[in-house]
Each structure stands twice: as C-alpha cells, then as structure tokens.
C-alpha cells in the first residue's frame, strides 16, 4: 500500500499528493511517470511525477479532477492509500546544457514541468519558465517554479494575472526581448502543446512535449497509448512520454483521447451521484 503523507489543495480542482513509494523514489527522474490505482475496482491511470524525495522515499503528484478516477484521487486524504503506485515508467528527460531553455506549463501541466526546469537549471541552462492558466485562481506552483527558474512569465487566458493571452504570447514576449531560445519543453493540454509546436516549427526551435494518452499497463505490452510521431507508431509509455513536438500528430492524439468519452461520462456520473448522496 502506498500511503498519502501530505495533501495540499493547489486550486479548486487541483490537488497535490505526496505519496510513500520508496522504490519509485529511489529511481525516479524528471520526465518519468507512475501508473496508479486508487482501489481494487479502479482503472490504471498514468500521472507524471512532479517531485521525488529519495531520503523520505516519497513521490509527489499533482492531479486535476476531470473525471471518475481523478475525482477519487483528488478526494484522498492524508493517511489514505493507493493500492497500486508503480514506476518510475517511461524515458527520463535528456538533461544537458542546451543554453537558454523555455519551460512551459499549461494548467496542471505546470507540475510535471517543475522537475524538468529544476534539472535543466542544475545542468547549467538559463531557464525561463512560462506558466499558463485559464484564470488566476487556477495558476499553481508559482513559488516552486520561481525557485527553479531564472525568470518566470505568467499568462492567463482572461488577463486576471500576468500577461493576458496564451503561453504562445509568453513565448513571443521572450523572443521580443531578443533572447535566443535553444530548446523548449511544453507540457499541458494537447491543444496547448499543439499550438506551441505550430508556433515554434517555423522558427526552428527544438520543442519537446510530454504526451498523456490513454494507458493501461504503462509497460509497453498493449499499445493503448500509441501515437503517430513522424509517420511512425510509438508507444508513449516506453518510447516517451516526451517526443519531438514538431513530429507528433496531435490531431490523432486528441481523437484517440476522446474514444471512451461516453464511458467516462457514465463512470463520472456514478461517482458524482454518490458524492451528492454523501453530501460531499
């Protein structure tokens, strides 16, 4: 059993959980993920690692409520346990000194960008982080990101905090300062990663995205997470989750993510109904 030792509400529907998983913590690297099951009837879902503490033997994850499983997990309290918390899985971020890098996080995607920004800074890069949120109340981990970045640019869709607009506006503002950007990491909703990739493709700036497709086992045995990358089929769980954003077929990825939409709604409806009965 993998116990939640710390819980923090980061925003209305975004929760941080620090989970006891010593074996995962011993090996975890930025860019990797875990597969979790909350209880015996739960599905297996992937969550990118936000932080790891090798001494305490803990892994930190951040999760936003979007459906049935994330609802169960965001409701977990300190002392509750996951029945499965397996990892670290996937390929770690390639850490080297690229020069000046942009670390872009959109919404809950700011969490997995955090260890990457920290690692890239430790590797000698100048790290400019661009944090995007729909609105001020949904912006998470600003202090943590400032601590691992040389500079932070904040954008909100509605202009309630920082620059009004999308993360691509943030990229433009950095480029407008005459800064030469050597590489970009962008993690967030697929539409956001797609627009970042489209923005940087003509500029020829290396852009890495972290894909979050449907997964089952997370160890390469089923292909549920397959993507088209540069015309080749890749399994995000073993070949990724990070890929060259200029090669990913984002439209296909979005369609594949929507396949179980109706079933997800059925399951979500079930848990919401239970919550209403319990008065939660």
């Amino acid at each position: 059993m993998y116990k939640v030792v710390k819980r923090r509400q980061l925003a209305d529907i975004i929760t941080l959980l620090e989970v006891e998983a010593p074996e995962v913590a011993k090996k975890a690297q930025p860019g990797e993920f875990v597969i979790v099951r909350q209880n015996e009837e739960s599905e297996r879902i992937p969550l990118t690692i936000m932080d790891f503490n090798r001494d305490k033997g803990t892994i930190t994850i951040v999760i936003q409520e979007v459906g049935y499983s994330s609802n169960l997990i965001t409701r977990m309290q300190e002392g509750d346990s996951f029945v499965t918390f397996v990892g670290p899985l996937g390929q770690a971020t390639e850490m080297e000194n690229y020069g000046t890098v942009l670390c872009i996080g959109g919404g809950v995607g700011i969490a997995p960008v955090h260890p990457i920004a920290r690692g890239l800074k430790e590797a000698g890069n100048k790290v400019i982080s661009i944090l995007g949120a729909r609105t001020k109340d949904l912006l998470i981990l600003e202090d943590e990101m400032r601590a691992v970045s040389n500079e932070v640019v904040i954008t909100t869709d509605d202009g309630t905090y920082g620059m009004k607009g999308f993360v691509t506006h943030g990229i433009q503002s950095v480029l407008d300062q005459g800064i030469k950007v050597d590489a970009i990491w962008a993690i967030g909703p697929v539409v956001m990663m797609k627009s970042v990739a489209n923005f940087t493709r003509p500029l020829g700036i290396k852009t890495i995205v972290s894909m979050n497709p449907v997964m089952v086992d997370g160890t390469g045995m089923c292909g549920a997470c397959r993507l088209d990358v540069g015309g080749e089929t890749k399994f995000a769980c073993v070949d990724g989750p990070e890929f060259d954003g200029h090669k990913v077929d984002f439209d296909l990825a979005m369609k594949r993510s929507a396949f179980f939409k109706n079933e997800e709604a059925v399951a979500y409806g079930k848990v919401k109904c239970q919550c209403a009965k319990e008065g939660k």
């Binding site: 074996e23 995962v24 011993k26 090996k27 099951r37 009837e41 739960s42 599905e43 297996r44 049935y68 499983s69 029945v83 499965t84 918390f85 397996v86 990892g87 670290p88 899985l89 089952v216 086992d217 160890t219 390469g220 045995m221 089923c222 292909g223 549920a224 397959r226 993507l227 088209d228 089929t233 073993v238 296909l252 369609k255 594949r256 929507a258 396949f259 179980f260 079933e263 997800e264 059925v266 399951a267 079930k270």
Partner: protein, 462 residues
C-alpha cells in the same frame, strides 16, 4: 479394470446462454463421470502419456486414484510434478501432448487426461486441507522476474528445494497471461489466484508492481544478495499489421482488449472503472488461441457479428480444435483466406470498415504451410467498428535491453541453453516465451521446471 465405455464428454454451458456471460464454459466432470472416465485408462506398464507431458506428471497413477475414489491422493500425485494442475487441466493442448500419446487413441479416443487433471485439482481445492510442507532452508536466494507460468513454476520448484524465492511482477496481480490474457470463461481468475496462494504457502514471496528494468535491474538483484536470477518475462509486446489506419479509434491489440476485459474486468463496467467498447461488427485479425479468446470476448461484450479474419484456411488455423469448435458454436464467423490491407475511419477517427483481399493457397513456405496468395481484383470492404489485432506478440524489451551482456537472438528473444536454460550471464537463467517466442502455458511451465533444476545444481555447487 479398463472399461470399454466411450470417452466422456465435458459438460458445457449452452452456447446461446454462455454467449452472454463470462462464466466458465466447461463445467467439469462430476465424481461419477470422473470415476467412469478414469476406469477407461488401461494403466500401461510403460505409459507413453507421461512422455507427452512437458512436466512428466505420473498420469496412470493419479488416474488410478480417481478410479479408486481417492481424489485427494490423485491431486497430491499431480502436485508432485505440477504445481498448477487446475490451470493446466484447463488450458493445456492435451490433444497434442499427453492425450496424443495415449494408446487408446490409436483405435478409439484417448483417455480424457486433461479433464481428469482438472477434476482432481478442483476437488482438492474444494475439499482439501493439505498444505505443502516447507522444505529445509538452503540459505540461498533466487529472484524470479515475471509471475507468469514459467516464473511461478520455477519459483515453486526452487521453494521445494528450500531456496528463498522472491518473484517480481510488473502488474498489480501475479499470473501473467493466466490473468490478463486467457478469459474468465476459459480460466476463472479465482482459480488462478487459489493456485498462486498455494505457492505462497510454500514460502514463495510474490512482490507485485515491480517493473524490473525500471525499479531495479538484473545486475542490481545479483549485487544485492540474490544468488541466481530467472527471467520469465514472456512475450508481451504486441505486433501490429503496419497497414494504414491502424491507429484509428476502435483498433485494439489483442493484449489491450484482453487486458481490459480480463485483468481490469472491463466487462463489469462501471462496477469496475476500466471501460471497454465494441461495435456491432468486430473483426479479429489472426487465427491463434488469442484470436479465439478475443473473438469470444467481443461476443460476450455485446457485438452482433464477430469475424475471425484469417489469411489461410480452416486447416491451418493455429488455435486448438476445441477453441475453434466452441467459437463456432457461439456463432463466431470465420472469414478465412481473407486479409485486410487498410482500416478505414470516419471524420472522428473511428473505424468504419476494413478493405480486404481474398486469398488462395499456393506452394508450401518455409514453415511447411501453404503460402496464401492474394487474388487479383478480389478487393472488398467489410463494415466493422472494432478491429482486434491478434497476429502475435514479441518479447517485451524492458528487461532485456537493460541487462548488459545478455545475449539475444535477432527477434530479441533471450538465448538460453536448451537443456539448462542458462543465459550468457553466469547465474542468470531464462525460460518460457521470452526464450521461445509466444508458445503455450505448459511449455513455459516445463521451461521453468528445467531452469529450477539447473539453478538448484548451480546453487549447490557454488
């Protein structure tokens, strides 16, 4: 004492009824039927059936005990050679193993060895209290990677010798293909778990959620106090057809489809949270046992028309005759001498049809089977909303690519000595599908047993 009675049929659920449920199809012999079938055995002095069994079960002996009504004794004889008889009795291809050698099969029908094995094992599970005695500790430690048939058998054999065994399993339950691959209606999961629990009673430690290659490595296991390692990671890498449209929604690998249904119990959605979706028309590509399992699962999930699409003819189908028979009874449609060249989707990226070609059989190829040749101008469209690709699996590279010095063949399988299962690394052994490529449960068990014997010899001389 042999009787001249004909071989006793296995009672089964009615095909119409069972097509709508996931309960076991074959219901098992009663005490009376088992006794009558057991009496058909002529108790050969030099039993050929034993030679046909990959783990060398003392077949006439255990059958004799059933004939005498000593069912627990029969189970105990079985367990002397085979730790997982309730599983083997259900999924072994007996027709090409023990029963193929039975002398009664020369003129008539062989003794139903598999059904009797299942009967004795089930009887013991329901009525037995005997626990396997723990052996005297040898002081040696062995790590087994993968809790499938090869790993579990190897672990049990090593535990019998008194070695401390730890099994490391990547998924959240032990059993490998017995849990995620073979459906509930052929192999109830509760039975698999009961047999695995008997291993735990022997002192075998099973750790789940352990992805070797990520959380630890073979070298680390050897450096951290394990005296030997057995790799039984199986053939868990799905092959796709590499035809256009294979990433459309509704195209599953058989591994994904069966894992969702069996391991995650998606057939019980939303009581179990993992979803699964099938259209009214489902095509399963391939003709092996996995394809039959996927087709019969699709039917039970509510599909109206389920097609097995296979490029050779009925006589070349690699699936067991019994499985093909069960599938036909349930209404699975066989589209033989047919192969898709493209999968077509709608504007939302969902599968709507397959473009197929008709084939005829040409000259035999290297495998001895007649090669399918496409018929020119035979192109046609088959409307389907779900495609399950079941054309085979390769070795999962997670362990093999993270183990320096481990010799692999050109397909990525581990090279292991045929008689000892030793790999290119001293103290590291391998067996089952990771060595042979996708084969059968009992062959994997046989490999696990052989490896355990050589690991034991290695431990006692080092």
């Amino acid at each position: 004492m042999a009787s001249k009675a004909p071989r006793h049929d296995m009672p089964c659920q009615d095909p119409i009824v069972r097509g709508k449920n996931f309960s076991e199809v074959a219901l098992g012999y009663t005490v009376e039927t088992a006794a009558e079938e057991a009496k058909r055995c002529i108790q050969c002095k030099k039993p050929k059936c034993v030679e046909g069994c990959p783990v060398g079960v003392d077949i006439p002996q255990f059958i004799n005990k059933i004939a005498e009504g000593e069912h627990l004794e029969a189970a105990s004889i079985l367990k002397g050679k085979n730790t997982l008889p309730a599983i083997c009795g259900r999924v072994c291809p007996q027709e090409s193993q023990c029963e193929a050698q039975c002398i009664l099969g020369v003129k008539g029908e062989p003794v139903a060895i598999g059904r009797l094995e299942r009967f004795a094992a089930d009887y013991e599970m329901a009525n037995g209290t005997s626990k396997l005695e723990k052996a005297t500790p040898s002081g040696k430690k062995v790590a087994v990677i993968g809790a499938g048939p090869a790993g579990l058998t190897c672990a049990a054999e090593l535990a019998r010798k008194g070695h401390a065994v730890t099994v490391l399993e990547a998924l959240h339950v032990a059993g490998g293909v017995l849990m995620y691959g073979i459906p509930e209606f052929r192999l109830p999961k509760a039975i698999v778990q009961k047999e695995i629990n008997s291993l735990k009673d022997m002192g075998v430690e099973i750790l789940v959620n352990q992805v070797v290659g990520k959380v630890t490595s073979v070298q680390e296991l050897l450096a951290n106090g394990y005296d030997a390692v057995f790799i039984g990671t199986g053939a868990g890498l799905p092959y796709f057809m590499k035809i256009p449209g294979e990433n459309y929604n509704g195209v599953y690998s058989a591994n994904e489809f069966l894992t969702r249904s069996n391991l995650m119990k998606a057939y019980d959605f939303p009581n179990h949270a993992t979803p699964i979706k099938v259209g009214e028309q489902v095509a399963v590509l391939g003709g092996g046992n996995v394809a039959m399992d996927a087709a019969r699962t699709a039917l039970r999930l509510g599909a109206k028309d389920v097609y097995i699409v296979y490029r050779r003819s009925m006589t070349e189908l690699p699936a067991r005759v019994e499985e093909v028979h069960h599938a036909e009874e349930e209404g699975i449609q066989f589209k033989i001498l047919t192969n898709p060249i493209a999968i077509n989707g709608d504007e939302n990226g969902n599968v709507k049809s397959m473009t197929c070609l008709k084939y005829e059989l040409g000259e035999p190829d290297a495998s001895g089977r007649r090669r399918p040749v496409a018929i020119e101008g035979s192109e046609f469209e088959l409307p389907v909303q779900t495609v399950v690709v079941s054309i085979g699996q390769g070795p999962n590279p997670l362990v093999t690519t993270t183990t320096a010095g481990l010799e692999l063949n050109k397909w990525g399988n581990i090279v292991a000595d045929e008689t000892t299962m030793a790999t290119s690394i001293p103290g590291v052994y391998a067996g089952g599908d990771i060595v042979t490529g996708a084969a059968t449960v009992i062959l994997a068990m046989g490999a696990g047993k052989t490896a355990a014997a050589s690991i034991d010899a290695h431990l006692m001389t080092n």
